[in-house]
């Protein structure tokens, strides 16, 4: 029986797997940890504009919901008097002059509603739009909450918050005290929504200068939001000098490197067959991830110090 992670706040441990740089292996590692948790965790995919955890955990969708958090400006051309006030006030440059008539560019519109408030003819209406969907699914390894933001949509942070909240509710209802979260790349809005208030971050990096650079930036975000972090170096043997450099940077910052995972094309081959490496093999890579899981169960990171 797998040992539970110790709860930190309100009996709940949210383990967020992020990376800064994309493609370092977040999803492969998150999925492997999900398998190793053997149903003791709730799983959440918070990479809402490119959700991939569901591709490998064989989910059966049980609930599907619309996500509505955005508004867009619509202009009633019959009421519009063509005064151009909306064009002047819009700082998103979302209203264009289309032959003397205002036209809204829906990708640029941020839904601020300033045009709605200033239009002297009352020709602007702010309409709710469906900007994505979210799902509750069952997998052989526990429940999975995931989502799909429509391409080009805003408010990915709100959708991430919704997925996290739903996962927390399910953990509460099912008496589980661990949530494994597959996070998005980058450091912006969805990453912040994923991290803020979470118990800990597991940062998956790779021994490239880009991986090191991006890890440093995401560690700054962890520090900013006071989330304790640990680091995994994936494909560590691609460049041992960079692996050393990452270890040195982490050690200088007081961040623990909790696993070194080798480069292994078997991970890709397993993914192509829709499997995690820990299901597909008992080789060196799988053993490293099992050891990582044991380590995550036995230790808790401390607050992320600021970098120098």
């Amino acid at each position: 029986m797998t040992q539970h992670l110790k709860p930190e706040r309100a009996g709940l441990d949210e383990l967020v797997i992020i990376s800064g740089k994309g493609g370092t292996g977040k999803t492969s590692i998150a999925a492997s940890l999900a398998v190793l948790a053997r149903g003791t965790a709730v799983l959440a995919d918070c990479d809402v504009d490119a959700a991939n955890l569901g591709l490998i955990l064989r989910p059966t969708v049980r609930e599907e919901h619309e996500f509505m958090a955005s508004k867009l400006a619509f202009i009633d051309q019959d009421k519009c008097e063509g005064c151009g006030t909306c064009l002047e006030v819009c700082r998103s440059h979302a209203i264009e002059d289309s032959g003397g008539r205002p036209a809204v560019n829906e990708y640029a519109c941020e839904g601020c509603g300033v045009c709605f408030h200033v239009c002297p003819a009352g020709a602007v209406e702010m309409r709710d739009v469906v900007s994505g969907r979210w799902f509750v699914s069952e997998t052989p390894y526990g429940p999975l909450v995931h989502a799909r933001l429509g391409p080009g949509e805003e408010n990915s942070g709100k959708l991430v918050t919704l997925v996290r909240r739903k996962a927390a509710e399910m953990a509460e209802a099912q008496g589980k005290d661990l949530i494994i979260i597959d996070g998005p790349p980058g450091i912006g809005c969805p990453v912040i929504a994923c991290l803020s208030g979470a118990s800990r971050a597991l940062i998956v990096t790779e021994p490239t200068l880009a991986g090191l650079h991006d890890m440093e930036r995401v560690l700054e975000v962890c520090h900013h939001f006071e989330v304790p972090a640990q680091v995994v170096i994936n494909r560590f043997d691609i460049d041992e000098a960079n692996t050393r450099r990452i270890r040195e940077r982490c050690s200088a910052r007081g961040i623990e490197v909790v696993a070194l995972i080798p480069f292994d094309t078997e991970v890709t081959r397993a993914a192509v067959r829709g499997m995690t490496i820990v299901e597909a093999s008992d080789g060196r890579t799988a053993r490293c991830i099992r050891a990582l899981w044991e380590k995550l169960n036995s230790e808790r990171p401390e607050a992320t110090p600021k970098g120098r």
Binding site: G113, V114, G186, T208
Partner: protein, 304 residues
């Protein structure tokens, strides 16, 4: 080569995007920029402002920088009558009025200016708040621009827009976009003449390629695909491209030397024999497609 050079006075904007992260966007953007700079006036714009990486490979000499600021509200307590209009118009919850105090949450503010414009007492003014920086310079023949969002900041598109203000008339502009398909990616690719989607032949690569294709179709951008590490996965990405009539512009094999060069911040074009010619050929193919308006836009091609 003369026809290529002749065309250099026309501005061509090529964006490199992907859906999935880590598929090789920066590798492609940087190597294309280096290879094409032998024939064209090339400007590389790194519009992945959350995690910019192109500078690691180009090592530009920086010539200048500019802070990216958002105008956030400041309330004059003497003028304010606490009517609550500012809080009512704010779509982002960045202003709250409780009894006789106004609370502003700058980190939630999108800088739309609504509260300033609509305050009946003219009690709201704006002060600039730094959220990132744009830096520019040169890397040999390549003009270089990138943006950096300050860690802890959430709002990406204003920094992306600030970086894209550096697009100049003439020459070839290559935009390195962030991963994903949400507003940061759209802000980066919109307005380009052609979008190159970089993917890998795995279920993740395929899933995210399809999302990226949906994004470029909505934006009406012509697009083609480059399959990176094409020998490490299966044929499903190739089959998808064929069904969608998306041109596969190039296939890059997995090559440990390439991965090692990338790790050290080196480029294939400069370090590995044979790659300059391959990226030049790929660049010419992309420029040809970007300049050729007669080719069908992929938004015209219906689903099978």
């Amino acid at each position: 080569m003369t026809t290529m050079t002749d065309r250099a006075d026309r501005r061509v904007i090529i964006s490199v995007a992907s859906g999935k992260g880590g598929t090789g966007k920066t590798t492609l953007a940087v190597n294309l920029a280096l290879a094409l700079s032998a024939f064209h006036d090339v400007r590389l714009i790194d519009a992945d402002v959350e995690e910019p990486n192109a500078h690691i490979f180009l090592r530009p000499d920086l010539e200048g920088s500019r802070t990216v600021e958002l105008p956030v509200p400041e309330v004059d307590k003497d003028r304010c009558r606490f009517c609550g209009r500012c809080a009512e118009v704010c779509a982002y919850g960045a202003v709250t009025v409780i009894a006789d105090s106004v609370l502003v949450f700058p980190e939630l503010c999108h800088g739309c200016g609504g509260c300033t414009l609509l305050c009946p007492e003219k009690a709201v003014t704006e002060r600039p708040r730094a959220i990132g920086v744009v830096e520019w310079g040169r890397a040999g023949e390549v003009a270089f621009v990138h943006g950096r969002l300050n860690p802890g900041e959430a709002l990406v598109p204003p920094v992306t827009r600030a970086v894209k203000e550096f697009i100049r008339p003439g020459g070839v502009t290559i935009i390195d976009a962030p991963p994903g398909t949400a507003c940061p990616a759209v802000a980066a690719v919109s307005g380009s003449d052609y979008c190159v989607l970089v993917t890998e032949p795995t279920p993740f690569g395929l899933n995210d390629l399809a999302l990226a294709v949906e994004m470029v179709r909505k934006l009406g951008l012509p697009a083609g695909v480059v399959i990176n590490r094409f020998d490490l996965g299966d044929r499903r990405v190739e089959d998808y491209c064929a069904r969608q009539r998306l041109p596969v512009l190039g296939r890059i094999p997995f090559d440990r030397k390439l991965a090692e060069a990338y790790a050290r911040g080196r480029t294939a074009v400069d370090d590995l024999p044979g790659w300059r010619d391959r990226f030049s050929a790929l660049g010419r193919e992309i420029l040809e497609r970007a300049s050729n308006g007669r080719r069908p836009r992929i938004s015209d091609v219906s689903d099978p």
